[in-house]
Amino acid sequence: MAAVPGDISVTPPSGAMAARLAHRRSRILREKAIELLLFLAAMVSVFTTIGIVYVLVKESVVFFQHVPLLDFLTDTQWTPLFDDAHFGIVVLLSGTLTSSLVALAIAIPLGTLIAIYLSEFAPFSVREVAKPFLELLGGVPTIIYGYFALLFVTPILQWFYPELPGFNLLSAGIVMGIMIVPYVASISEDAMRAVPMSLREGSYAMGATRFQTAVNVVVPAAFSGIASAYILGISRAVGETMILAVAAGMQPNLTFNPLEPAATITAFIVQVALGDLPHGSVGYQTIFAAGLTLMLFTLACNVAGHVLRKTFREAY
């Protein structure tokens, strides 16, 4: 009867009873302690986010005391390490956007095609082999893709277009696109497979072919999932670093022409980190300002993806 821990003061226990109560108390305490420990472990992810925001904002605030925000957004030169320093983030953004567009022009059609094929057309055995294979392709380190872009894809492109410089956004973008294909394909495919069979059966019963069913029934029904796959692809492309650092050159260049070399936000951060910048210098702070820009960009993507998922969610 005195099993409730709060009650022990009311009925003073004795002997074996006391021992059992003490045992029980310690057991409850231990349970609480373990729960607290697990909770703290779970909070690490929250602390990570706070840490990221804290570090980026703290260093960026110092940076923006040196460089007016207007200059940062409107200047058309990026020469943070020169004596005549200019901080126009547009220069780096142009490289990031151009390479991302090339990558998406590859990844979205290929990824969608593969997803539709695997979900609607492929026989079971092909799917069983292809899915793990795509996963392997997604697991290859990006530095390897960078090497591949620089020393395999660029020479092939130069064969078609001899004036192409050794470093260019095109080959980096193409390889980046192929790197993103597995993510886009596998998430889109999951979304399409989640479409109930009865919808397809209805379509087939009306005499539609697999192609008509896929395009007119399955893809619209799975649209929210496919859209979030695209968004994930965009945020991967924007945040990709090593392929661009290796194959696109690291010279800041305000251009939207993929045939030219250019630095991206991420490549600039790598370039600065490779050098020896004293902690606390303006050069050191620029990489945090660049990182903050990148972070805001990917955050916007994540939020857009979330909204898309919510808006176009088809409930069955």
Binding site: A42, T49, V55, L110, V140, F152, I178
Partner: protein
């Protein structure tokens, strides 16, 4: 007569629809093949360029100015040590978070906050983790550009992978197992320790392997915290001849890792160094492929064998 004409028109229409169907199927298959061929080309390119350089000296030499004598000793030792630190932090934290969210967490805003955070962190570019580590671990906590900093950074980076794998495999355990254990008077932790963790361990292992395969190939965050690109010494040995025999000096040592060594060689103009880069890349690809392959195989086995 009109009937026959209609029929043939309909047949033509059906035939054209079927043709489109086939064309699309072929397009899809071709798209898949683009992925496959890229992968094969990449692997073959690495193998053709790199295999001639692969020998015992390549694994046991330090990097050098002379490409023919350069090796990856400090790089692979560094990679292994960083992975050790990463696993040491990522596995307990990830598993604990997964257990908390699946077994303990009440339904409230704190739990929602944690879940949204994990989803968001999975989408943060890896270089941002590098900036976090540079600002926080290297300078604020004074850990320096050490193996510990790198290991912690990569641990945070792969944490979402481990957490998601843990949660998925815990969710697959039927409710009856928990109810049976509770009915015998088990506490929540006893249920977790004796049932939930053992039954989900294979799934967790899969997630850990995939996460580690990702961590071993990550270059950008490790460069950002300031790993050196030219290291011609090894970290202090973890064993000592006198008591207490174990030394943890190595966690604070400067280091380099495989992908950085490869990046260093790739960014040099001499062809001989590019060959070294290919050889290092070949080893790296083999390692990540082996790890991912093992994870995929494990998952396949789990799916086949476990019938609750």
């Amino acid at each position: 007569m009109a009937y026959v004409k209609d029929l043939s028109a309909i047949r033509a229409l059906i035939a054209s629809h079927k043709r489109w169907d086939l064309v699309f199927a072929l397009c899809g298959f071709a798209a898949l093949m683009v992925g496959v061929l890229t992968f094969v080309a990449l692997f073959a390119d690495m193998a053709i360029q790199g295999l001639p350089r692969l020998n015992w000296e390549f694994l046991t030499n330090f990097p050098s100015r002379r490409p023919a004598q350069a090796g990856i000793l400090s790089a692979w030792v560094g990679s292994c040590l960083v992975m050790l630190v990463t696993a040491f932090f990522a596995v307990p934290l990830g598993v604990a978070t997964g257990i908390y969210l699946e077994e303990y967490a009440p339904k409230n805003w704190v739990t929602d906050l944690i879940e949204i955070n994990i989803t968001n962190l999975a989408g943060v570019p890896s270089i941002v983790y590098g900036l976090l580590a540079l600002g926080l671990f290297v300078y604020q906590f004074g850990l320096g550009q050490s193996i510990l900093s790198a290991g912690l950074t990569l641990a945070l980076l792969i944490l979402p992978v481990v957490i998601v794998a843990t949660r998925e495999s815990i969710r697959a355990i039927p409710q009856g197992i928990r109810e049976g254990a509770y009915a015998l008077g088990g506490t929540q932790w006893q249920v977790c320790r004796d049932h939930i963790i053992p039954y989900s361990s294979a799934g967790i292992l899969t997630g850990v392997i995939i996460g580690m395969a990702r961590a071993i190939g990550e270059t950008a965050p490790v460069i950002t915290i300031g790993a050196l690109t030219f290291i011609a010494f090894l970290p202090p040995a973890p064993m000592k001849t006198e008591a207490p025999f174990l030394s943890f000096d190595w966690v604070m040592s400067p280091f380099t890792v495989m992908p950085i060594q490869m990046f260093n060689w790739t960014s040099r103009p001499e062809a001989a160094f590019l060959q070294n880069a290919a050889a290092a890349g070949f080893i790296l690809v083999l390692m990540t492929l082996a790890m991912n392959g093992l994870a995929i195989y494990l998952r396949y086995r789990i799916r086949k064998n476990i019938k609750w």
